[in-house]
């Protein structure tokens, strides 16, 4: 049914998407974003041209930061609109089916998995918490070594050793603090996930990202969670604690029911 040269981009899956919810939403390919219903579920989809969203063009586009930025934000925006109407399972960026029928079949076949995932994220949102070690510590008295009793070379070595030991201790203290932050936030969350720390340059910071966590939190515990972040930030003055969100449950929609879906990806390509 789909004409040659198009595919169906999938944004998110929900139990239902209200009529007109997607009416004014811009899609990644400039076409209208639609709700596709099958298997008792609804997916937000868009027909995209393979001129831009076929494998090779997409790979090229992904190396274009402006394109990636724009596309990621549009994808995120659609997911957010769907999430505003109820529980949502977001799809990863760049999931393109052959046509609408393929999406419909997938929804029908995976109905139970999606239902379980949707239930898991119902009335919950994702919060991001990042902890940074500050590049400059609070001022401390210098470790002075009696210079008079030592050769200049030995004094230098001792001073250097003391500096390194101090830095080592600082790093260990930072990591222990970050672990404590994670433990206390995890206790308030329905689920938690640690991501690899962000590259300082990606974040445009010189501070070292030592914790990059995502927390699935009951909507009604949002204030409690924010207060805990505030308290932890105050407790650890040598760290900077940053809260982002609320996010649609990107980090949790796939687990555990839908995690198995990632397994066959290579076969499908």
């Amino acid at each position: 049914m789909a004409p040659h040269g198009t595919g169906t981009w999938v944004y998110a899956v929900a139990s239902a998407i209200p009529r007109d919810a997607l009416a004014d939403v811009a899609g990644v390919g400039g076409n209208s974003v639609r709700a596709l219903e099958a298997g008792g579920l609804a997916a937000a989809v868009e027909t995209v041209s393979l001129e831009d969203f076929g494998e090779q063009p997409l790979r090229e586009h992904l190396e274009d930061l402006d394109w990636l930025d724009k596309t990621a934000r549009l994808h995120h925006q659609v997911v957010g609109v769907v999430a505003g109407h109820g529980p949502v399972v977001p799809m990863r960026l760049a999931l393109v089916f052959r046509d609408d029928d393929g999406v419909a079949r997938m929804l029908a076949e995976r109905r139970g998995d999606f239902a379980a995932s949707l239930e898991r994220v119902t009335a919950r949102v994702e919060w991001g918490v990042k902890v940074y070690a500050l590049p400059e510590r609070r001022a401390e008295p210098k470790h002075e070594v009696e210079a008079g009793s030592q050769s200049p070379g030995l004094a230098y070595l001792n001073r250097r050793r003391a500096e390194l030991a101090k830095r080592d201790a600082e790093v260990q203290a930072d990591v222990a603090a970050a672990e404590q932050v994670h433990a206390e936030l995890q206790a308030l969350a329905a689920a938690a996930q640690l991501r690899p720390p962000q590259h300082p340059r990606l974040a445009g910071r010189s501070e070292r990202n030592i914790l990059n966590g995502a927390y699935l939190v009951d909507v009604e515990r949002a204030d409690e969670f924010a207060a805990a972040v505030r308290r932890l930030a105050a407790r650890y003055g040598d760290l900077r604690v940053e809260l982002t969100g609320p996010w649609p449950p990107y980090s949790f929609a796939a687990a555990p029911e839908l995690a198995a879906m990632t397994g066959g990806l290579d076969d499908a390509r």
């Binding site: 990636l68 990863r92 079949r105 972040v229 760290l239 604690v241 076969d267």
Partner: protein, 85 residues
Amino acid sequence: MTLDDGVAKGYGGHGQVPVRPHRASSPAFSDRPVALVDLLDRLLAGGVVISGDIRLAIADVDLVTISLQALISSVETAFPGPRSD
């Protein structure tokens, strides 16, 4: 382009934290700017990837590698610092 301009908030340990308005029934997600780096963290590594009748789904590693390389080189151009440590 500034990757940093959408960072929601930073808690510097000074106590003041703006808490966003948050409707329990239907939290609003889409109306606030977010940092691209945080978004890509989720869109490239999170979300569901499905095998099946698909035309394309880029494997995690490929996608992340490609985009992070693009990001790093771009950011290095945009931000001369910070010096490496």
